[in-house]
Protein backbone atom coordinates (compact mmCIF):
# COMPACT_ATOMS: atom_id res chain seq x y z
CA UNK A 1 0.00 0.00 0.00
CA UNK A 2 1.36 3.41 -0.98
CA UNK A 3 0.82 6.50 1.13
CA UNK A 4 1.35 10.08 0.13
CA UNK A 5 0.03 13.61 0.22
CA UNK A 6 -1.75 15.59 -2.44
CA UNK A 7 -1.86 19.37 -2.54
CA UNK A 8 -4.07 21.32 -4.92
CA UNK A 9 -2.70 24.58 -6.33
CA UNK A 10 -4.50 26.65 -8.94
CA UNK A 11 -2.96 30.07 -9.24
CA UNK A 12 -5.09 33.16 -9.59
CA UNK A 13 -4.24 36.77 -10.21
CA UNK A 14 -4.24 37.35 -6.49
CA UNK A 15 -2.52 34.31 -5.03
CA UNK A 16 0.44 32.16 -6.08
CA UNK A 17 -0.83 28.85 -4.75
CA UNK A 18 2.10 26.96 -6.28
CA UNK A 19 4.45 28.89 -4.04
CA UNK A 20 2.31 28.07 -1.01
CA UNK A 21 2.10 24.41 -2.07
CA UNK A 22 5.88 24.14 -2.28
CA UNK A 23 6.19 25.54 1.21
CA UNK A 24 3.46 23.27 2.59
CA UNK A 25 4.92 20.21 0.84
CA UNK A 26 8.30 20.70 2.46
CA UNK A 27 6.62 20.77 5.85
CA UNK A 28 4.73 17.55 5.07
CA UNK A 29 7.90 15.76 3.97
CA UNK A 30 9.81 16.95 7.01
CA UNK A 31 7.23 15.94 9.61
CA UNK A 32 5.20 13.15 8.06
CA UNK A 33 7.92 11.53 5.92
CA UNK A 34 5.66 10.84 2.97
CA UNK A 35 5.93 11.83 -0.69
CA UNK A 36 3.88 14.78 -1.86
CA UNK A 37 2.27 15.28 -5.25
CA UNK A 38 0.94 18.50 -6.69
CA UNK A 39 -2.38 18.79 -8.52
CA UNK A 40 -2.28 21.95 -10.58
CA UNK A 41 -3.41 23.78 -13.68
CA UNK A 42 -0.61 26.31 -13.31
CA UNK A 43 2.29 24.61 -15.08
CA UNK A 44 3.70 27.87 -16.38
CA UNK A 45 4.39 28.94 -12.86
CA UNK A 46 6.47 25.92 -11.98
CA UNK A 47 9.39 27.26 -13.99
CA UNK A 48 9.80 29.96 -11.36
CA UNK A 49 10.50 27.24 -8.82
CA UNK A 50 13.17 24.99 -10.32
CA UNK A 51 13.44 23.01 -7.09
CA UNK A 52 9.88 21.77 -7.46
CA UNK A 53 11.18 18.53 -8.98
CA UNK A 54 12.97 17.77 -5.72
CA UNK A 55 9.93 18.57 -3.61
CA UNK A 56 7.12 16.93 -5.53
CA UNK A 57 6.79 13.26 -6.22
CA UNK A 58 4.46 13.84 -9.16
CA UNK A 59 2.89 16.83 -10.88
CA UNK A 60 -0.68 15.97 -11.80
CA UNK A 61 -2.55 18.09 -14.32
CA UNK A 62 -6.08 19.17 -13.46
CA UNK A 63 -8.53 21.32 -15.32
CA UNK A 64 -10.83 23.42 -13.30
CA UNK A 65 -12.10 26.83 -14.01
CA UNK A 66 -14.54 28.82 -12.00
CA UNK A 67 -16.34 32.06 -12.11
CA UNK A 68 -16.49 32.22 -8.36
CA UNK A 69 -15.18 35.31 -6.66
CA UNK A 70 -14.24 35.66 -3.05
CA UNK A 71 -13.20 38.51 -0.82
CA UNK A 72 -9.68 37.76 0.43
CA UNK A 73 -8.71 39.74 3.49
CA UNK A 74 -5.14 40.60 4.43
CA UNK A 75 -5.65 41.61 8.01
CA UNK A 76 -8.77 43.44 9.04
CA UNK A 77 -8.40 46.56 6.99
CA UNK A 78 -7.30 45.34 3.56
CA UNK A 79 -8.98 43.01 1.13
CA UNK A 80 -9.34 42.29 -2.54
CA UNK A 81 -11.94 40.38 -4.42
CA UNK A 82 -10.38 37.70 -6.56
CA UNK A 83 -11.10 34.50 -8.40
CA UNK A 84 -11.50 31.45 -6.20
CA UNK A 85 -10.73 28.13 -7.85
CA UNK A 86 -12.07 25.47 -5.56
CA UNK A 87 -14.09 23.18 -7.77
CA UNK A 88 -11.60 20.37 -8.35
CA UNK A 89 -11.26 18.82 -4.93
CA UNK A 90 -13.68 16.00 -5.71
CA UNK A 91 -11.16 14.75 -8.30
CA UNK A 92 -8.76 13.71 -5.53
CA UNK A 93 -9.97 10.12 -5.64
CA UNK A 94 -9.24 9.70 -9.34
CA UNK A 95 -5.99 11.59 -9.63
CA UNK A 96 -4.12 10.56 -6.51
CA UNK A 97 -1.19 8.26 -7.24
CA UNK A 98 -1.45 6.75 -3.77
CA UNK A 99 -3.64 4.09 -2.15
CA UNK A 100 -3.90 6.17 1.00
CA UNK A 101 -3.83 9.92 0.54
CA UNK A 102 -3.54 12.95 2.75
CA UNK A 103 -5.17 15.84 0.93
CA UNK A 104 -4.43 19.28 2.27
CA UNK A 105 -4.81 22.89 1.34
CA UNK A 106 -1.65 24.76 0.44
CA UNK A 107 -2.23 27.06 3.40
CA UNK A 108 -2.31 24.26 5.97
CA UNK A 109 1.08 24.35 7.64
CA UNK A 110 2.33 21.15 9.22
CA UNK A 111 4.46 21.67 12.33
CA UNK A 112 4.12 18.26 13.99
CA UNK A 113 3.83 14.55 13.38
CA UNK A 114 0.25 14.46 14.70
CA UNK A 115 -1.13 13.16 11.42
CA UNK A 116 1.29 10.23 11.24
CA UNK A 117 -0.98 8.15 13.45
CA UNK A 118 -3.93 8.94 11.24
CA UNK A 119 -1.97 7.89 8.17
CA UNK A 120 -1.27 4.53 9.75
CA UNK A 121 -4.66 3.52 11.14
CA UNK A 122 -7.39 1.46 9.47
CA UNK A 123 -10.02 4.14 8.87
CA UNK A 124 -10.90 4.74 5.25
CA UNK A 125 -11.91 8.38 5.66
CA UNK A 126 -10.76 10.90 8.25
CA UNK A 127 -11.45 14.60 8.42
CA UNK A 128 -11.57 17.41 10.96
CA UNK A 129 -14.87 18.27 12.60
CA UNK A 130 -13.78 20.08 15.73
CA UNK A 131 -11.74 23.23 15.39
CA UNK A 132 -9.87 25.75 17.46
CA UNK A 133 -9.68 29.44 16.67
CA UNK A 134 -6.39 30.87 17.89
CA UNK A 135 -8.24 34.09 18.68
CA UNK A 136 -10.16 32.20 21.38
CA UNK A 137 -13.09 34.52 21.88
CA UNK A 138 -14.45 34.98 18.37
CA UNK A 139 -17.76 33.50 17.32
CA UNK A 140 -16.92 30.09 15.84
CA UNK A 141 -20.46 28.82 15.38
CA UNK A 142 -20.04 28.96 11.60
CA UNK A 143 -17.48 26.18 11.97
CA UNK A 144 -19.68 23.99 14.16
CA UNK A 145 -22.66 23.64 11.84
CA UNK A 146 -23.09 24.79 8.27
CA UNK A 147 -25.78 27.06 9.69
CA UNK A 148 -27.88 27.18 12.82
CA UNK A 149 -30.63 25.08 11.25
CA UNK A 150 -28.54 22.41 9.72
CA UNK A 151 -25.92 19.71 9.86
CA UNK A 152 -22.45 19.44 11.42
CA UNK A 153 -19.60 21.27 9.71
CA UNK A 154 -16.59 19.33 8.43
CA UNK A 155 -13.42 20.98 7.18
CA UNK A 156 -12.51 20.21 3.58
CA UNK A 157 -9.06 21.65 4.30
CA UNK A 158 -7.39 18.42 5.36
CA UNK A 159 -8.53 14.84 5.05
CA UNK A 160 -7.15 11.36 4.64
CA UNK A 161 -8.80 8.74 2.51
CA UNK A 162 -8.11 5.25 1.32
CA UNK A 163 -9.42 4.07 -2.01
CA UNK A 164 -12.47 1.97 -1.19
CA UNK A 165 -15.94 1.59 -2.63
CA UNK A 166 -17.42 3.80 0.07
CA UNK A 167 -14.90 6.62 -0.36
CA UNK A 168 -15.49 6.36 -4.11
CA UNK A 169 -19.16 7.00 -3.35
CA UNK A 170 -18.26 9.96 -1.18
CA UNK A 171 -16.30 11.69 -3.91
CA UNK A 172 -18.98 10.89 -6.49
CA UNK A 173 -21.47 12.46 -4.13
CA UNK A 174 -19.35 15.57 -3.71
CA UNK A 175 -19.19 15.96 -7.48
CA UNK A 176 -22.96 15.54 -7.65
CA UNK A 177 -23.43 18.16 -4.95
CA UNK A 178 -21.13 20.51 -6.84
CA UNK A 179 -23.08 20.00 -10.05
CA UNK A 180 -26.38 20.64 -8.26
CA UNK A 181 -25.17 23.23 -5.83
CA UNK A 182 -28.23 25.48 -6.05
CA UNK A 183 -30.49 22.57 -5.15
CA UNK A 184 -28.38 21.44 -2.21
CA UNK A 185 -27.83 24.90 -0.83
CA UNK A 186 -31.56 25.45 -0.96
CA UNK A 187 -32.47 22.31 0.95
CA UNK A 188 -29.69 22.82 3.50
CA UNK A 189 -30.61 26.49 3.93
CA UNK A 190 -27.17 27.79 2.85
CA UNK A 191 -27.50 31.45 2.00
CA UNK A 192 -24.33 32.05 0.02
CA UNK A 193 -24.41 31.01 -3.65
CA UNK A 194 -20.66 30.41 -3.53
CA UNK A 195 -19.71 26.75 -3.63
CA UNK A 196 -17.56 25.73 -0.67
CA UNK A 197 -15.78 22.43 -0.31
CA UNK A 198 -16.41 22.51 3.44
CA UNK A 199 -20.15 22.57 2.81
CA UNK A 200 -20.02 19.93 0.08
CA UNK A 201 -18.01 17.60 2.30
CA UNK A 202 -20.37 18.24 5.22
CA UNK A 203 -23.43 17.44 3.14
CA UNK A 204 -21.85 14.38 1.54
CA UNK A 205 -20.73 12.98 4.89
CA UNK A 206 -24.20 13.59 6.31
CA UNK A 207 -25.75 11.67 3.43
CA UNK A 208 -23.18 8.86 3.74
CA UNK A 209 -24.21 8.65 7.39
CA UNK A 210 -27.84 8.05 6.42
CA UNK A 211 -28.87 11.60 7.32
CA UNK A 212 -27.94 11.11 10.94
CA UNK A 213 -24.92 11.10 13.22
CA UNK A 214 -22.83 8.21 12.01
CA UNK A 215 -19.32 6.95 11.83
CA UNK A 216 -18.60 7.12 8.12
CA UNK A 217 -16.12 9.93 8.72
CA UNK A 218 -13.69 9.49 11.57
CA UNK A 219 -12.25 12.61 13.10
CA UNK A 220 -8.60 13.38 12.54
CA UNK A 221 -6.57 13.54 15.75
CA UNK A 222 -6.47 16.88 17.50
CA UNK A 223 -8.31 19.96 16.37
CA UNK A 224 -8.31 21.98 13.19
CA UNK A 225 -6.36 24.95 14.53
CA UNK A 226 -6.88 28.01 12.39
CA UNK A 227 -6.37 31.71 11.96
CA UNK A 228 -8.68 33.73 9.74
CA UNK A 229 -7.59 35.87 6.82
CA UNK A 230 -8.21 38.86 9.08
CA UNK A 231 -5.26 37.67 11.17
CA UNK A 232 -1.62 38.11 10.27
CA UNK A 233 1.27 35.68 10.37
CA UNK A 234 4.14 37.46 12.07
CA UNK A 235 6.89 34.89 12.22
CA UNK A 236 7.65 31.24 11.92
CA UNK A 237 10.77 29.54 13.15
CA UNK A 238 11.36 25.83 13.44
CA UNK A 239 7.93 24.61 14.47
CA UNK A 240 6.80 27.75 16.23
CA UNK A 241 4.43 30.28 14.70
CA UNK A 242 3.46 33.76 15.82
CA UNK A 243 0.30 35.52 14.76
CA UNK A 244 -1.48 38.77 15.30
CA UNK A 245 -5.09 37.71 15.71
CA UNK A 246 -7.93 40.15 15.48
CA UNK A 247 -9.69 40.91 18.73
CA UNK A 248 -13.34 39.98 18.83
CA UNK A 249 -15.53 43.09 18.54
CA UNK A 250 -12.48 45.36 17.98
CA UNK A 251 -11.76 45.36 14.24
CA UNK A 252 -8.21 46.39 13.48
CA UNK A 253 -6.92 45.58 16.95
CA UNK A 254 -4.84 42.50 17.46
CA UNK A 255 -3.50 40.13 20.07
CA UNK A 256 -0.16 38.39 19.69
CA UNK A 257 -0.38 34.62 20.00
CA UNK A 258 2.10 31.85 19.36
CA UNK A 259 1.94 28.13 18.71
CA UNK A 260 4.50 25.41 19.12
CA UNK A 261 4.42 22.10 17.24
CA UNK A 262 0.85 22.73 16.20
CA UNK A 263 -0.44 22.35 12.65
CA UNK A 264 -2.18 25.57 11.66
CA UNK A 265 -4.55 26.55 8.86
CA UNK A 266 -3.29 30.02 7.87
CA UNK A 267 -6.13 31.57 5.92
CA UNK A 268 -4.36 34.85 5.24
CA UNK A 269 -2.55 33.78 2.10
CA UNK A 270 -1.04 37.20 1.47
CA UNK A 271 0.61 37.18 4.84
CA UNK A 272 1.83 33.62 4.37
CA UNK A 273 3.22 34.57 0.96
CA UNK A 274 5.10 37.51 2.42
CA UNK A 275 6.65 35.26 5.00
CA UNK A 276 7.70 32.69 2.39
CA UNK A 277 9.21 35.49 0.33
CA UNK A 278 11.49 36.28 3.25
CA UNK A 279 9.47 38.96 4.95
CA UNK A 280 7.90 38.79 8.35
CA UNK A 281 4.39 38.20 7.09
CA UNK A 282 3.23 41.57 8.44
Amino acid sequence: MTTGALIFAQNTVGVDYVKLALFAARRVKEHLKIPVSLATDSFDWLKFYPDHTEVFDQIIPIVGNTNQLKKFYDGTLAFKTAEWKNLTRYQAYDITPYDRTLVLDSDYIINSDTLVKALNNDYSFQIFRKSFDLALDRNDKTFQRINQYSIPFYWGTVFIFEKTASTRSLFDLIEYIKQNWDYFRFIYKIETPTFRNDFAFSIAIHIMNGNTEGDFAQELPGLMTYTLDRDILVDMKNNKMKFLVEKAHYPGEYTLVSTNETDVHVMNKQSLTRFIDGGSGV
Binding site: Y149, I151, N211
Partner: protein, 276 residues
Amino acid sequence: MSKGFIVLAQNTDDVDYVKQAYALALSIHATQSETAISIITNNNVPEEYQEVFDQIIPIPWTEGTDSRYVAEHRWKIYHVTPYDETIVLDTDMLMLEDINDWWWYCQDHDLLFCTQVLNYKGEIIDNSIYRKTFIANNLPSPYFALHYFKKSEQAEYFYKVLEFVVNNWAWCYGKLASEFYQDWLSMDLAAAIALELCGYNDRADICSPLRFVHMKPGVQGWQPIPASWQNTIPYSFTKAGQLTIGNIKQPYLFHYVEKDFIGVDIISKLKRLVNG
Protein backbone atom coordinates in the same frame (compact mmCIF):
# COMPACT_ATOMS: atom_id res chain seq x y z
CA MET B 1 -44.13 -10.12 33.03
CA SER B 2 -46.40 -8.09 30.76
CA LYS B 3 -45.03 -4.95 29.16
CA GLY B 4 -46.75 -2.04 27.54
CA PHE B 5 -46.97 1.65 26.88
CA ILE B 6 -49.58 3.85 28.43
CA VAL B 7 -50.82 7.29 27.56
CA LEU B 8 -53.30 9.57 29.27
CA ALA B 9 -55.45 11.70 26.97
CA GLN B 10 -57.93 14.40 27.89
CA ASN B 11 -59.35 16.38 25.02
CA THR B 12 -59.74 20.13 25.32
CA ASP B 13 -61.75 22.54 23.23
CA ASP B 14 -58.69 23.16 21.08
CA VAL B 15 -56.84 19.89 20.99
CA ASP B 16 -57.86 16.34 20.16
CA TYR B 17 -55.46 14.45 22.41
CA VAL B 18 -57.16 11.15 21.67
CA LYS B 19 -56.25 11.61 18.03
CA GLN B 20 -52.66 12.30 19.05
CA ALA B 21 -52.68 9.13 21.14
CA TYR B 22 -54.02 7.25 18.13
CA ALA B 23 -51.12 8.48 15.98
CA LEU B 24 -48.68 7.50 18.71
CA ALA B 25 -50.26 4.05 18.96
CA LEU B 26 -49.98 3.61 15.19
CA SER B 27 -46.32 4.59 15.32
CA ILE B 28 -45.74 2.06 18.10
CA HIS B 29 -47.37 -0.68 16.05
CA ALA B 30 -45.27 0.34 13.06
CA THR B 31 -41.93 0.25 14.85
CA GLN B 32 -41.93 -1.78 18.06
CA SER B 33 -41.42 -5.36 19.03
CA GLU B 34 -43.47 -4.65 22.18
CA THR B 35 -46.62 -3.15 20.74
CA ALA B 36 -49.13 -3.13 23.59
CA ILE B 37 -50.41 0.36 24.27
CA SER B 38 -53.35 1.38 26.41
CA ILE B 39 -55.05 4.72 26.61
CA ILE B 40 -56.49 6.28 29.74
CA THR B 41 -59.24 8.66 28.83
CA ASN B 42 -62.78 9.71 29.57
CA ASN B 43 -63.27 11.00 26.06
CA ASN B 44 -64.93 9.12 23.27
CA VAL B 45 -62.49 6.94 21.35
CA PRO B 46 -63.72 6.60 17.76
CA GLU B 47 -64.24 3.06 16.54
CA GLU B 48 -61.47 3.23 13.98
CA TYR B 49 -59.02 4.22 16.74
CA GLN B 50 -60.05 1.47 19.12
CA GLU B 51 -58.34 -1.40 17.35
CA VAL B 52 -54.83 -0.03 17.94
CA PHE B 53 -55.27 0.15 21.70
CA ASP B 54 -54.78 -2.84 23.91
CA GLN B 55 -57.16 -1.42 26.50
CA ILE B 56 -59.20 1.74 26.82
CA ILE B 57 -59.23 2.65 30.49
CA PRO B 58 -61.44 5.31 32.04
CA ILE B 59 -59.82 7.88 34.28
CA PRO B 60 -60.81 6.92 37.82
CA TRP B 61 -61.68 9.18 40.74
CA THR B 62 -62.41 12.19 38.57
CA GLU B 63 -62.78 15.65 40.02
CA GLY B 64 -62.90 19.11 38.53
CA THR B 65 -59.80 20.30 36.70
CA ASP B 66 -58.38 23.77 36.66
CA SER B 67 -54.66 23.49 36.06
CA ARG B 68 -52.76 24.69 33.04
CA TYR B 69 -51.90 21.28 31.62
CA VAL B 70 -54.86 19.30 32.93
CA ALA B 71 -52.30 17.28 34.82
CA GLU B 72 -54.11 16.27 37.99
CA HIS B 73 -54.97 12.77 36.89
CA ARG B 74 -51.52 11.60 35.94
CA TRP B 75 -50.67 10.21 39.34
CA LYS B 76 -53.39 7.63 38.70
CA ILE B 77 -51.47 5.97 35.90
CA TYR B 78 -49.74 3.58 38.28
CA HIS B 79 -53.02 2.39 39.70
CA VAL B 80 -54.73 1.62 36.40
CA THR B 81 -51.99 0.32 34.18
CA PRO B 82 -52.71 -3.26 33.07
CA TYR B 83 -48.99 -4.04 32.69
CA ASP B 84 -46.32 -5.28 35.06
CA GLU B 85 -43.83 -3.01 33.33
CA THR B 86 -45.03 0.26 31.89
CA ILE B 87 -43.48 3.02 29.82
CA VAL B 88 -45.47 6.21 30.17
CA LEU B 89 -45.56 8.58 27.22
CA ASP B 90 -47.12 11.92 26.39
CA THR B 91 -49.71 11.91 23.63
CA ASP B 92 -47.86 14.38 21.41
CA MET B 93 -45.09 11.94 20.57
CA LEU B 94 -44.24 9.54 17.77
CA MET B 95 -42.15 6.40 18.02
CA LEU B 96 -39.78 6.30 15.07
CA GLU B 97 -37.54 3.32 15.83
CA ASP B 98 -37.67 0.15 17.88
CA ILE B 99 -36.69 0.91 21.47
CA ASN B 100 -36.61 -2.68 22.63
CA ASP B 101 -33.25 -2.08 24.35
CA TRP B 102 -34.97 0.40 26.67
CA TRP B 103 -37.05 -2.41 28.13
CA TRP B 104 -33.89 -4.39 28.56
CA TYR B 105 -32.17 -1.57 30.43
CA CYS B 106 -35.21 -0.75 32.55
CA GLN B 107 -35.92 -4.28 33.74
CA ASP B 108 -33.37 -3.86 36.55
CA HIS B 109 -35.14 -0.77 37.85
CA ASP B 110 -38.45 -0.15 39.59
CA LEU B 111 -38.73 3.41 38.43
CA LEU B 112 -36.72 5.32 35.87
CA PHE B 113 -37.12 8.77 34.36
CA CYS B 114 -35.77 10.35 31.23
CA THR B 115 -33.48 13.19 32.28
CA GLN B 116 -31.84 14.23 29.03
CA VAL B 117 -33.56 15.31 25.88
CA LEU B 118 -32.18 16.18 22.47
CA ASN B 119 -32.99 18.79 19.91
CA TYR B 120 -33.58 17.73 16.32
CA LYS B 121 -29.87 18.19 15.57
CA GLY B 122 -29.07 15.46 18.08
CA GLU B 123 -27.58 17.89 20.59
CA ILE B 124 -28.31 17.31 24.26
CA ILE B 125 -30.40 20.24 25.37
CA ASP B 126 -28.94 22.56 27.95
CA ASN B 127 -31.96 22.68 30.21
CA SER B 128 -30.45 25.26 32.54
CA ILE B 129 -32.26 27.89 30.47
CA TYR B 130 -35.80 26.67 31.01
CA ARG B 131 -35.37 24.52 34.11
CA LYS B 132 -34.16 27.25 36.41
CA THR B 133 -36.55 26.13 39.13
CA PHE B 134 -35.12 22.63 39.20
CA ILE B 135 -31.53 23.85 39.33
CA ALA B 136 -32.05 26.66 41.82
CA ASN B 137 -33.83 24.31 44.22
CA ASN B 138 -31.40 21.41 43.79
CA LEU B 139 -34.09 19.12 42.46
CA PRO B 140 -33.63 16.22 40.06
CA SER B 141 -34.66 16.98 36.49
CA PRO B 142 -37.06 14.29 35.29
CA TYR B 143 -39.22 14.41 32.17
CA PHE B 144 -42.59 12.93 33.08
CA ALA B 145 -43.35 12.63 29.36
CA LEU B 146 -41.12 9.56 29.27
CA HIS B 147 -40.65 7.30 32.23
CA TYR B 148 -40.73 3.66 33.18
CA PHE B 149 -42.08 1.88 36.21
CA LYS B 150 -42.52 -1.68 37.34
CA LYS B 151 -45.32 -2.78 39.63
CA SER B 152 -43.34 -2.62 42.84
CA GLU B 153 -43.31 -1.15 46.32
CA GLN B 154 -40.93 1.61 45.30
CA ALA B 155 -42.93 2.71 42.30
CA GLU B 156 -46.19 2.57 44.27
CA TYR B 157 -44.65 4.70 47.01
CA PHE B 158 -43.44 7.23 44.48
CA TYR B 159 -46.88 7.53 42.89
CA LYS B 160 -48.53 7.94 46.29
CA VAL B 161 -46.15 10.78 47.07
CA LEU B 162 -46.79 12.18 43.61
CA GLU B 163 -50.52 12.14 44.34
CA PHE B 164 -49.85 14.24 47.43
CA VAL B 165 -47.67 16.69 45.51
CA VAL B 166 -50.16 17.04 42.67
CA ASN B 167 -53.06 17.65 45.05
CA ASN B 168 -51.02 20.11 47.12
CA TRP B 169 -48.75 21.48 44.45
CA ALA B 170 -48.80 25.12 45.53
CA TRP B 171 -47.81 24.20 49.07
CA CYS B 172 -45.12 21.77 47.86
CA TYR B 173 -43.70 24.28 45.39
CA GLY B 174 -43.53 26.85 48.17
CA LYS B 175 -41.65 24.45 50.44
CA LEU B 176 -39.35 22.72 47.95
CA ALA B 177 -39.29 24.86 44.81
CA SER B 178 -39.55 28.40 46.06
CA GLU B 179 -36.73 29.74 43.89
CA PHE B 180 -38.08 30.74 40.45
CA TYR B 181 -41.52 29.80 41.72
CA GLN B 182 -43.89 28.36 39.08
CA ASP B 183 -47.50 29.27 39.57
CA TRP B 184 -49.01 26.34 37.72
CA LEU B 185 -48.94 22.57 38.11
CA SER B 186 -46.25 21.02 36.01
CA MET B 187 -45.88 17.25 36.11
CA ASP B 188 -42.14 17.51 35.58
CA LEU B 189 -41.73 19.68 38.66
CA ALA B 190 -44.23 17.62 40.65
CA ALA B 191 -42.29 14.46 39.76
CA ALA B 192 -39.03 16.14 40.72
CA ILE B 193 -40.42 17.05 44.13
CA ALA B 194 -41.88 13.58 44.61
CA LEU B 195 -38.50 12.02 43.77
CA GLU B 196 -36.85 14.36 46.23
CA LEU B 197 -39.37 13.53 48.97
CA CYS B 198 -38.96 9.80 48.35
CA GLY B 199 -35.19 10.06 48.33
CA TYR B 200 -35.26 8.60 44.84
CA ASN B 201 -33.02 11.13 43.13
CA ASP B 202 -31.10 8.32 41.42
CA ARG B 203 -34.24 7.32 39.51
CA ALA B 204 -33.49 10.34 37.39
CA ASP B 205 -30.56 8.41 35.97
CA ILE B 206 -28.31 10.37 33.62
CA CYS B 207 -27.06 7.14 32.04
CA SER B 208 -30.56 6.01 31.18
CA PRO B 209 -31.20 5.38 27.49
CA LEU B 210 -34.64 6.96 27.87
CA ARG B 211 -34.35 10.01 25.66
CA PHE B 212 -36.47 11.85 23.16
CA VAL B 213 -36.22 14.65 20.67
CA HIS B 214 -37.94 17.72 22.09
CA MET B 215 -39.24 20.20 19.52
CA LYS B 216 -39.84 23.16 21.78
CA PRO B 217 -38.54 25.98 19.52
CA GLY B 218 -36.56 27.56 22.35
CA VAL B 219 -34.22 24.58 22.70
CA GLN B 220 -33.25 24.15 19.05
CA GLY B 221 -30.30 26.55 19.19
CA TRP B 222 -31.93 29.10 16.91
CA GLN B 223 -31.62 32.86 17.17
CA PRO B 224 -34.05 34.51 17.15
CA ILE B 225 -36.36 31.92 18.66
CA PRO B 226 -39.34 31.43 16.36
CA ALA B 227 -42.89 30.81 17.49
CA SER B 228 -43.17 27.57 15.53
CA TRP B 229 -40.59 25.02 14.45
CA GLN B 230 -42.83 23.87 11.63
CA ASN B 231 -42.69 27.33 10.09
CA THR B 232 -38.93 27.51 10.50
CA ILE B 233 -37.42 24.33 9.18
CA PRO B 234 -38.45 21.94 6.40
CA TYR B 235 -39.46 18.45 7.43
CA SER B 236 -40.79 15.33 5.83
CA PHE B 237 -42.44 12.16 7.01
CA THR B 238 -41.92 9.41 4.48
CA LYS B 239 -44.06 6.43 3.58
CA ALA B 240 -41.48 4.29 5.37
CA GLY B 241 -42.14 6.19 8.57
CA GLN B 242 -38.87 8.08 8.51
CA LEU B 243 -39.01 11.62 9.83
CA THR B 244 -36.35 14.08 8.73
CA ILE B 245 -36.13 17.63 9.97
CA GLY B 246 -33.68 19.95 8.27
CA ASN B 247 -32.45 16.83 6.43
CA ILE B 248 -31.58 15.19 9.74
CA LYS B 249 -33.19 11.81 10.39
CA GLN B 250 -34.93 11.75 13.74
CA PRO B 251 -34.25 8.81 16.05
CA TYR B 252 -36.31 6.82 18.57
CA LEU B 253 -38.96 8.98 20.15
CA PHE B 254 -40.10 12.34 18.83
CA HIS B 255 -41.97 14.92 20.93
CA TYR B 256 -43.49 17.24 18.37
CA VAL B 257 -45.06 19.65 20.88
CA GLU B 258 -47.00 21.65 18.27
CA LYS B 259 -50.49 20.26 18.28
CA ASP B 260 -51.18 20.76 14.58
CA PHE B 261 -48.27 18.56 13.53
CA ILE B 262 -50.39 15.43 13.31
CA GLY B 263 -52.51 15.79 10.22
CA VAL B 264 -54.27 13.52 7.80
CA ASP B 265 -51.09 12.92 5.84
CA ILE B 266 -49.06 11.52 8.73
CA ILE B 267 -51.91 9.43 10.07
CA SER B 268 -52.63 7.90 6.66
CA LYS B 269 -48.94 7.03 6.19
CA LEU B 270 -48.84 5.44 9.63
CA LYS B 271 -51.98 3.47 8.89
CA ARG B 272 -50.50 2.15 5.67
CA LEU B 273 -47.35 1.15 7.55
CA VAL B 274 -49.36 -0.75 10.14
CA ASN B 275 -51.87 -2.33 7.82
CA GLY B 276 -49.42 -3.07 5.04
